[in-house]
């Protein structure tokens, strides 16, 4: 054993070996961390219902505008009254909401769309619609209360 203790040659080689080994361990840890980060970010991107919320609000805005026009036409156009237009619009919106609810319930999601307020202009057509939109998939809950829609825009 005296030979080992007294022999002080090759210390630089021993030191470089140690440095390289520690570097490899650090690189491995880094790769592992990057993989875990990628896994969680991909999982989050798949799970968060960003597109669902967008499509529900966009479709509801478009449908509400068209339903307002349809309700006005069906109520007699220029001969319509605010009450008849509102009744027809409420019926259309209720039907739309019920269908959306059934379609999204199949995915395990709840969608609820209700009318909060409608503002009429002098020709008895709806100018501004205030809707309450809510979405819930058990993990993410989204509400837009009110969602203000300008029909003439």
């Amino acid at each position: 054993m005296a030979g080992i203790i007294d022999d002080t040659d090759g210390q630089w080689i021993a030191l470089s070996g140690l440095t390289i080994s520690i570097s490899l361990v650090l690189v491995a840890i880094l790769v592992n961390e990057a993989a875990i980060t990628g896994y969680y970010s991909s999982y989050a991107a798949l799970e968060f219902p960003k597109e669902k919320i967008r499509e529900i609000t966009a479709q509801t805005q478009e449908s509400a505008k068209n339903a307002a026009q349809l309700a006005w036409n069906y109520s007699g156009g220029l001969h319509a009254t605010n009450e008849s237009v509102l009744n027809n619009f409420t019926a259309l919106l209720s039907n739309y909401s019920a269908q959306m609810n059934t379609i999204y319930a199949v995915h395990g999601e709840t969608v609820n769309i209700t009318l909060s307020k409608a503002v009429f202009n002098s020709s008895h057509s709806i100018d501004i619609i205030w809707l309450n939109i809510s979405y819930d998939d058990g993990t993410t809950r989204y509400t837009s209360e009110p969602e203000i829609i300008e029909v003439k825009q």
Partner: protein, 170 residues
């Protein structure tokens, strides 16, 4: 035989142990790396499918001849078969958007208070890693009449149809 370079031998042993430990660490990590790459591809594919439907739905009339609502409104309400798609114009538009991606399209809608699902486009059987992109469209009597479709929508009613795009890579 002599007793020189024993430190070098120990150094080699130490370095070899560290390398084995490093390789073990990376090998064990591969369990996480594999689903990570699969998930990334799923995210990319789902985004592509969602974008394809969004483009069809929202593109201005100058960009596309018919938007998604008009393409669905023109449906003849027959169940598609692998040999005969019931929405050929929609198939053409989606095919332009999704290069090298296989897809099927189903239409889901409420009829007599129950959900009905019909196959509109069939290109094959989806594989394990398929993704589904959905987009609702609202049909009116005027839209259906204009598009020449066979949907039964009365003049004071709306029909919500969910377009389900099932996409996968082969």
């Amino acid at each position: 035989m002599n007793d020189k370079a024993q430190i070098h031998t120990l150094e080699g042993l130490f370095a070899a142990t560290l390398m084995v430990l490093t390789v073990m660490l990376i090998t064990r990590s591969s369990l996480i790396i594999t689903p990570q790459s699969e998930l990334s591809m799923d995210v990319q594919l789902k985004q592509t499918a969602e974008d394809a439907l969004a483009i069809l739905d929202m593109a201005p009339g100058t960009a596309l001849q018919f938007n998604l609502t008009e393409l669905v409104a023109g449906g003849n309400m027959t169940e598609a078969t692998p040999q005969d798609n019931s929405l050929k114009p929609l198939d053409t538009e989606i095919d332009t958007q999704l290069n090298d991606i296989m897809y099927n399209v189903d239409l889901a809608y409420v009829e007599n208070d129950t959900l009905t699902v019909k196959h509109a486009i069939i290109h094959g059987a989806p594989v394990e890693n398929s993704v589904v992109a959905t987009r609702p469209v609202t049909l009116y009597n005027s839209t259906v009449t204009q598009a020449g479709g066979a949907w039964n929508v009365s003049s004071n009613d709306v029909k919500v149809v969910e377009v389900r795009l099932i996409a996968w890579r082969v």
